[in-house]
Symmetry: C2
């Protein structure tokens, strides 16, 4: 296919930015007001829920989480600290590699995520369907 022209690129970028900004803003507002969660905090909870197999909560590493929510390692470290303080996740030392930290959901964290999912999906439906 032919390469897009500069004006097309700029237009595409602006559209992308506008959608992202509007959606992220709405998401942050709704999740924060109704469930006391920031957007990235919800995303991290969701990754943990997805990683869960069967009963035992998955234990993901800080760096995996950081990469998957587009935050720096330091930002994730503090984000996990906030979630831990709120009782939604737990840090535990990784058995195999004691430098690593395993992050896993608490029951409260799972509940909070379950509560927030409808809000999240509803905002996405509002913002992402033209």
């Amino acid at each position: 296919m032919s390469a897009p022209s500069d004006p097309e690129l700029v237009e595409a970028w602006r559209t992308l930015l506008a959608r992202q900004a509007a959606t992220a803003c709405a998401l942050d507002r709704e999740l924060s007001e109704r469930h006391g969660l920031g957007m990235s905090e919800f995303e991290v909870l969701e990754r943990l829920v997805e990683g869960t197999s069967g009963d035992c909560a998955a234990s993901l590493r800080i760096q995996e989480l950081a990469h998957s929510v587009h935050l720096s390692q330091s930002a994730l470290s503090r984000l996990i600290a906030r979630l831990e303080k709120a009782g939604l996740v737990e840090r535990s030392m990784c058995a195999e590699d004691r430098r690593g930290v395993s992050v896993c959901l608490t029951p409260a964290g799972r509940d909070r995520h379950t509560d927030a999912v409808p809000t999240h999906r509803s905002v996405l439906a509002d913002m992402l369907t033209p």
Copy 2:
């Protein structure tokens, strides 16, 4: 058309987020390293260039700019302060409404934008063409 399912919505949102994060990050890095401009600062300069008609630089209001780059009014106020400190724009009182502030490009601002455009377009081409 049929409403997208929840997994489709989530997938679309993650894709959007990933593209935005990667592009914004690359844009910030390149513009900052090579031209001393943040992404939003470049966007503001670009809006001012676009608003220019003929010789006389357009004078846009703080709020118009804020809306068009998805920042809050306070963020824009400080962003303009940074650009002004760098000599790239000038604030001037709006004649009709003396509450308002007209922001307009200086020649240095126009030059800086012109220098940065190729970098900007090149990053967009890299990140936005699959």
